[in-house]
Each structure stands twice: as structure tokens, then as C-alpha cells.
Amino acid sequence: MKNLFGIKIARVRGHSMYPSFLDQDLVVCLNSPLLKPKKGQAVLVEHPVFGLILKRIHNFSGLNPKKLQLVGEHSDSSSTETMGWIDNNQIVGRVLLRIRHQKNHR
């Protein structure tokens, strides 16, 4: 991952975000404190167990708006419960742009 003025570029590995993101796609992400995380956003998260993961924001805690849950798009994704509650500051970038890998073009 390269951090260029808050811009991060990461390569997707795995299929849990199918169909939005496919294996080997690139994602360009922006990390800025000015951007409020929103439900449904695709985000890069530094997870304490799974490492750097790409998921969508599923929902926010009713008690603490800085706590949120994640969700994958594919049915085989790790479940929301397995990934647990995530702190806002574990989000390391919000996806701005997806670049399909050549092998994923049909």
C-alpha cells in the first residue's frame, strides 16, 4: 500500500466482495478526517484479527456512533458477527475508485 497525500492504493485478494470488487482489482482509497463514514461505503479496515480487509460499512452502534459493523457482499464472506465491532479509527481508507484487473474483464 502506498500512501500518497492520504491516498492509498491496495490490491484486492479474495472473493468476499464479489460482485463489486473482484480478486486482483485495485482500489484507490482516500483517508481524511473530514470524510464521515457512511453506511454502505466500501472501506479498508485494519482489523485486529484479519489484518487489512476490504468490506462495506453495515451499520453503526446506536450507543456509540464511532463503533460500526462490517459486511461482505458475497455469501461466503466472514460474517458481520465474526468481524465484530470496529472502531472508527480502524478505517484506513474509503474506496474512491475501483480499477478492474485485466483478467476480470469479460
Partner: protein, 169 residues
Amino acid sequence: MFQEIIQGLSRKLNIIEAQAHCDIPCKVYDPISAQLASLSVIRFFDLIEELQKKQSLSTNEQANLIRLIGQKEVHAEKVKDEIRIIWGDYFKAPQLATHPDTHQLSHQIMQTASACKQQSNREKGEELLQLVNNFAECFWQTKGVATYRAICPYPPQEETVYTDLKEDR
């Protein structure tokens, strides 16, 4: 052209990987473990009740009471674990569409299992077993597997849901 430039650039940028990983879809799910744990909870209530009827307890009986209370809590927690896994990992949009009450049912099981840990009330154990039985029926319906209810052939001899795998599907 744009793709090739980006991909070529990415090779020079030392980009690391973001995992969009999956759970291993082993597909091995069965609520029977939760049902057996629920039956155990009721059994522990009964054994605790037997000791409570005594005027006084010997040292061995006191030690046994402590073990029974501890195991009641362990098995009530096991019910919660087993149900959580099936609810969280197996039930997905298609199953929830046909069984929309699953969330509420799972939540009721969590609450009732906790009550079994907190209290010494057999009725709570019976309520837990009934809820877990309902969950088992719901689970097997999503898989198109027939079920029936029968009294389990061992203490506490309570009604339990079993799969009828011989029935034509």
C-alpha cells in the same frame, strides 16, 4: 490503455494486499448440539433441585452442587454459542426471507439462556428448550429436511426435535 497504465504503475508502487477473504464455507451446521445443551441445562436444574431438598449438605454434596451450578452455566453458554454460529454464519438473505422471525427467535434464545445462567428456575430451562426446538425446526425447514418431535430417551425426558431423514424429500 488506462488499465494497462494503472496496472503497470501498480507494479512499481509496492502495493500491499487488502483481504476480501471468506470464511471456509464448510456447510456443516446442525442445531442438535444446542438442543443437547438445552436438555443438559434442564437436567442440571433437576439435580440441583434434588440437593436443595436436603436439610443439610455434606462436603461432597456441597462440592457437587458447585459443579452442577458451574456446568449449568457452561451448557447455557454453549447453547448461545451454537445458535449464534448458525444464526450468524448459516442464515443468509434467502433463508431470512422465508423465515423472517429468525432474528427475534435467536435473540430470545440469547436472553433465555442468560436467564438460565442467572437463575435456578426449571421453567426457564423448559422455555429455552422450546425456543431451541423452534429454531431447529426453522433451520431444517430451510434445508427441506422433515422433522418430528419426540420425548428424548434419557433424562430429563423432554420433547425434542429430531430430523426424519428417511422421509422422501
